[in-house]
Subunit: 410 residues, 2 copies
């Protein structure tokens, strides 16, 4: 958590770090600035020192809401550097980073670089920084100091994520209620006005329900039939819903304007489930339960994935372990950390062997089976937190029924 940062810097022999970047959503900056609504801004911190936020004058008022000390780049001499560098922004920035480090008291040492930015700008800046011999600029591998801190959520972060979870569960319920209230006509499903309900209409409803609860969609999946058989297909807006088709609904909203996420998936069949979908769903539910049973505090995360892969392979399904190129069966990670980013550490994958389960981790468990050629996919996903006693606790309380019964049978 955030309070670990100085210790992590010491362990990795870092004297300071700088977080920078452009207008891309920058989770490291969001995290360290306590969610300040700034589009630019650089953070500099010396080990055991304060975290200084530096921004342009026009963002000063928002930056101050971070509760960090704030200075404007003009105040710290950026404009002089710009002149010195003949108005070349990257060259000026490289010089200015030295000013920033001196502003937090560092005259030499090892400096970590974090943030998100355009790759060409990052490389050019790094090339210029590398010529400043008093500092050694370090590009850490993953998980970095910041990623490691983000890996264990503190009480305040968990409270926010529980709130996002409650609201996401309520949106799921609203969509379930809407679908259960439809009327079947042949294979199609009609709303009160007698119109065929499409995926686009359901997504619009879900977005309105999210917004009414202070959340925003970040690209939900509502994929029916063969589309649900492709794990990251989003679903076709114009496609009409049909009874008895498997629908994969993966909802991963975040706090409005950027912030903490929830992540959950349900698979639904409206009215009835075909036997092959029910069978696959039962196998995935078993995998889900097996994964939870395999949990242990301080256990390597990848073991959980391998037990699930054993389960699927024993039942004749291909996995990305048995065949890395497979496009059916089970071919993704079992889960991933969730927070300000939708994909964080820990990674529950047989290819990532470093992460162990720690108190404060928040991560998804999401086994699935995908048979696009048979016209369906199924996935079930809850978000879990490892609480202060080391217990694995689900934040996703919403029911796991496969079939949404129609209240008004045609």
């Amino acid at each position: 958590m955030k309070s670990d940062i100085d210790r992590l810097m010491r362990e990795r022999d870092l004297d300071a770090f700088i977080v920078f970047g452009g207008e891309e959503f920058n989770s490291a900056r969001y995290y360290l600035s306590n969610g300040a609504k700034i589009t630019h801004g650089t953070i500099v911190k010396a080990r055991d020192g304060e975290t200084l936020l530096v921004c342009s004058g026009i963002e000063y008022a928002e930056a101050q809401k971070s509760s960090l000390p704030v200075k404007t780049s003009a105040e710290l001499g950026y404009h002089d550097r710009l002149q010195e560098a003949d108005n070349k922004a990257t060259a000026a920035t490289a010089l200015f980073f030295g000013d920033l480090l001196r502003a937090v008291g560092l005259r030499s040492g090892r400096v970590g670089l974090y943030g998100s930015w355009q790759v060409n700008k990052t490389i050019r800046l790094y090339q210029l920084l590398a010529t400043q011999s008093q500092y050694e600029f370090v590009a850490e591998g993953s998980p970095t100091v910041i990623e490691t801190a983000m890996l264990t959520k503190d009480a305040q972060e968990i409270a926010r994520m529980k709130s996002v979870a409650r609201r996401s569960n309520a949106v799921m319920q609203a969509v379930w209620d809407f679908l259960g209230g439809l009327r079947q006509a042949g294979e199609f499903l009609l709303d009160e006005a007698g119109e065929r309900v499409t995926i686009g209409m359901v997504k619009d409803l879900a977005r309105r329900e999210l917004m009414a609860r202070g959340l925003e969609d970040t690209g939900m999946i509502f994929a029916q039939g063969a589309d649900g058989g492709s794990p990251h297909s989003r679903g076709e807006a114009d496609m009409p819903l049909q009874a008895g088709q498997a629908i994969v609904f993966d909802l991963f909203p975040r706090e409005l304007g950027g912030g903490y996420h929830h992540d959950m998936t349900r698979t639904w069949c409206v009215g009835y489930a075909p036997p092959e979908v029910q069978a696959a769903y039962d196998t995935v539910r078993e995998a889900f339960d097996i994964a939870i049973e395999a949990y242990g505090l301080n256990k390597p995360a990848h073991l959980m994935q391998e037990i699930v892969q054993d389960h699927f392979e024993a039942r004749g399904h291909a996995t990305s372990r048995s065949d890395p190129k497979t496009l059916h069966g089970y071919m993704h990670s079992l889960g991933h950390g969730v927070g300000i980013d939708i994909h964080e550490r820990p990674s529950i994958s047989h290819l990532a062997r470093k992460d162990i389960f720690e108190i404060g981790n928040v991560f998804s468990i999401e086994p699935g089976l995908y048979y696009p050629d048979q016209g369906f996919g199924v996935r079930v996903e809850d978000l879990f937190v490892i609480d202060e006693t080391g217990q694995l606790v689900s934040l996703t309380t919403f029911r796991k029924d496969l079939v949404i019964p129609l209240r008004d049978k045609a």
Copy 2:
């Protein structure tokens, strides 16, 4: 525009490029993949060759909607590279980039690198790429080949931006209508239910109106009084609206799920305008008209800013040219390109002297005056396109009245 890319690559002596990155919104990838809804994926293109999109199997179905040729990373041997690199993702990616280049027929040459990614990962990858002696990996300065292509929009892009503009203007009208229908009670403004209307309520309304038109907010500013005197203050959700206060409403939504933006600002006083606000507003409106008069096809963009700075300085206002550290007066760029990114080239700034106005540019013109100590700021912003005849055409048709009259006077 996109059709210029091969020519631009030739002019800059680039044999190929690779666009990569993580889950950050990646405008270069969005642009080249025609908006494919993928969270990962790499693009590789040799000069005069096709644009190949490479993604993981689970994103294959969405990637195919790009209308580009698509291959999975498994198909191109990424898993072998991962094994070879002992499961180290960055090392595997560096090797895999060589595979990608060979897949488009390039065995040696100069390769541009574009996209958005975490800075530490970019630097590590670049260090590894630099050891592949058959290729020279190039980090272009701005504007890159991709940014230069994006600088001139084609007919299809302009049609999309006109549609976003029409919908944004309609949202402005909806908010105007709502505010004009309020009832004044003392200094406060009440809705039909007799409740004091807050900034948060207005933003919620604007977001619902955007969503109903297939648009999404990306952080609108609705800042009243002294908050509007700080150009990038977003506005306090809990603050009640008051008659006679200057409100800066800067709306810059984009197509739902990522896509083209509109950008417009109006300054409003509900009921009446105090004389000092009216005077500042008149000066800004003059600046706006002066800027448009200063437009000329192929003229350097920075001249437009300098003429506006002359205008403000002659009337006794500080500018960021006369005092780079000023926090009042006029201290930002006159405008910026708008497209898939909210801030693109051209830059209309006295510090950026490279950009000239070209057919297909879409950019904002947004003079303002800011006096936080006097409790107000004003800004007016339209989005313009340079049409195929070289004319400057506003996409922002919404009225520029300062005062919203109250229909129901208390």
